[in-house]
């Protein structure tokens, strides 16, 4: 097992390196959260291909980005951001909310 460890480490590092370019790529779309609201609250995206969505939380408190339509839920700590890989989406409207402030944090993606 001890002999395996350097190999495992190498695999892990290789994995991290391999994953870095994907992270460095510019996100296709960006939504910000400020004062527990999404900006923009409505976003048009192309249907039928994978897209990346960057959600920036500018509030000091954590928010949970949740969308049953997109089947995503992730806590985004205050003053930080998260990237989601979505799709390919069928044409339609996909609602999302900030679960911690559901009354104000509402938005939707419209795939066309």
């Amino acid at each position: 097992m001890r002999k395996l460890r350097p190999i495992l480490n190498a695999v892990f590092i290789a994995g991290l390196l391999g994953a870095t370019p994907a992270l460095a790529a510019e996100p296709d779309y960006t939504v910000t959260i400020k004062d527990h609201r999404f900006e923009p609250a409505e976003l048009q995206v192309p249907a039928g291909r994978k897209i990346t969505l960057l959600v920036k939380n500018l509030d000091p408190t954590a928010e949970e980005f949740e969308s049953k339509d997109l089947k995503r839920e992730r806590v985004i700590p205050g003053k930080s951001e998260a990237t989601f890989t979505l799709g390919p989406l069928k044409p339609g409207t996909y609602r999302f909310v900030g679960e911690f402030h559901e009354s104000t944090a509402k938005g939707s993606l419209i795939a066309k």
């Binding site: 991290l16 408190t61 992730r74």
Partner: protein, 278 residues
Amino acid sequence: MLATAVIVLREVLEAALVVSIVLAATRGVPGRGSWVSFGIAGGVLGAVTVAVFADALAAGVSGLGQEIFYAAVLFVAVVMLGWHNVWMTRHGREMASNLSSVGAAVRGGTKPMYMLAVVVMLAVLREGSELVLFLYGIATSGPGQSVELAGGFTFGLLGGVTLSLAMYFGLLRVPAKRLFSVTGWLILLLAAGMAAQGAAFLVQADILPALGDAVWDTSPLITDESLVGRVLHTLVGYTARPYGIQIGFYIATLGVLLLLTKLFAQNPQPIGRQTAAL
């Protein structure tokens, strides 16, 4: 306050249902109370830790730390639940005949109660970390929030505990002879549902293929957000619009656990040896 209570209830519910099933499944085991309390305390501690390090977790593994962490937590719970069921099968005969023999097995050190304590801990940890972040957000969002916080938290927690008590006492109405087979099935479905949820996290992390985005859509009947939807989600893994791979994981988990249970049930030799050792 109501909005806070609803969110607290939502997060507490799943962990509370898991605790009630574990309590029913360990009926007659001495010291189970302290094991379960230990599990809950460990879970709360873990939840606070996860919440404190939420930034690091979210940024880990190229921004997919949360999904991978939750998937790992779920799969560990699945293994523990499966292991428990297999163990129960190996000792099923002693138990069906006499509840008190469960106690004997525990005193003899053969009933590994820690498996279920770990399941309780993981359930509390997973639901609790979100709750901690949410409550922290309220607490820091300005003065005069303490009533909102305390009231919402109390009502939400009470709601979750009441529902799980109802579930627990409902299970206790099952005749003792059949209780372990009923809890065995509940744990099996719980495990399959957790495996499917774990698979969904890995799809979200882009590690597993979805194999169909929504194989069916029962959201017009029961939405995932509704109370019934949440309860069914915990108990049988209900999802209104499952990925194909979730269905695959669900069926595979059921199949593997049933197969393991059958294999161990047909091989009574180790039981004889262990009983003799007692």
